[in-house]
Symmetry: C3
Subunit: 131 residues, 3 copies
């Protein structure tokens, strides 16, 4: 199963993985179908949103921090309870249509690996399904 | 690839597209599989939730506005940073099972295109996969 | 279509259904593909997150309650408007890759049915697609 390795350098980090997902889709040689990008972690996520202006990812990260502040009081005592909440809000899977062998992303859309408990070595699974 | 065109008239608007998605599923002639409804925009989303009482969509819209107020301070300076946050929270894709050529929605479920930066002309991609 | 029946006993409850989904995947005999876990309800959801420490689900539930308190003022007057908001935030579908006839969950990941308007009798639909 094709995987993308992501090495994060901060506690919170949004890494644009669009080109690496697209490369896997092209190698899979499917013409039309779906692409699943799946994060097998519980303190990270995957998001499709604007990749042109990096401030968008910063605003999203700040909004998530307001909902689940790192230093609020939680019952899970490993110091990363906020990261689990953020992972739930962003989600661990994105499904994107494939047409003519290409991801059918919108003009401004990119795919981001979302780290909430870095720095770490992470994995994204990419699965293509032909229709 | 089948598409649904949505013309929104307000900045925030939830448009019930259930019947139009169902029509595409029927035309696709798949009997059993999945239906992906995909929004190729970064300031809009797609949601499955109650379509019977329109107040539900209003409450959801209000809750999103509390998390990401339009006029809060953001780094992205196009005036639609809140819409990017709302798009992330709602999501840009919904996957619904198909059985006997029909969407397997629950009794109260409908599919909503969620506009957060209208009015605009928008597109939804609908992709069916047979199992 | 394979289904999982879930009987909830509290208004809010996260029920680990990982083993039951895995059993359906194994019976489906698909080797490689996708598994869709779909909740046909509008006041419940499905989540992939840590299943080892039950405090994680409690923290997530508390974070959702902060965003959409049960007793805030809503327009939908059935007393469960907050549950609709929580369902939107968690989502009604999860897609998980399947490899070698097994769900490709991460080491700490489990699948949770998320009840927000219990106690009730609920259903989860599980659909597998081979690639």
């Amino acid at each position: 199963m094709p995987e993308i390795k992501v090495v994060t350098r901060s506690r919170t980090e949004f890494v644009d993985i669009t080109a690496r997902v697209q490369e896997i889709v092209q190698k899979s040689a499917i013409q039309s179908g779906l692409c699943l990008v799946y994060v097998p972690h519980t303190t990270a996520g995957v998001m499709v949103n604007e990749s042109y202006d990096p401030d968008v990812a910063r605003d999203i990260s700040n909004a998530l921090e307001k909902v689940a502040p790192q230093n609020a009081r939680y019952q899970h005592t490993e110091g990363n309870a906020d990261a689990h909440v953020k992972s739930m809000l962003v989600g661990t899977a994105q499904v994107i249509p494939v047409e003519n062998g290409q991801l059918l992303l919108g003009r401004w859309q990119g795919i981001f690996f979302c780290e909430f408990d870095g720095p770490r070595q992470r994995t994204c699974i990419v699965k293509t399904i032909s229709d």
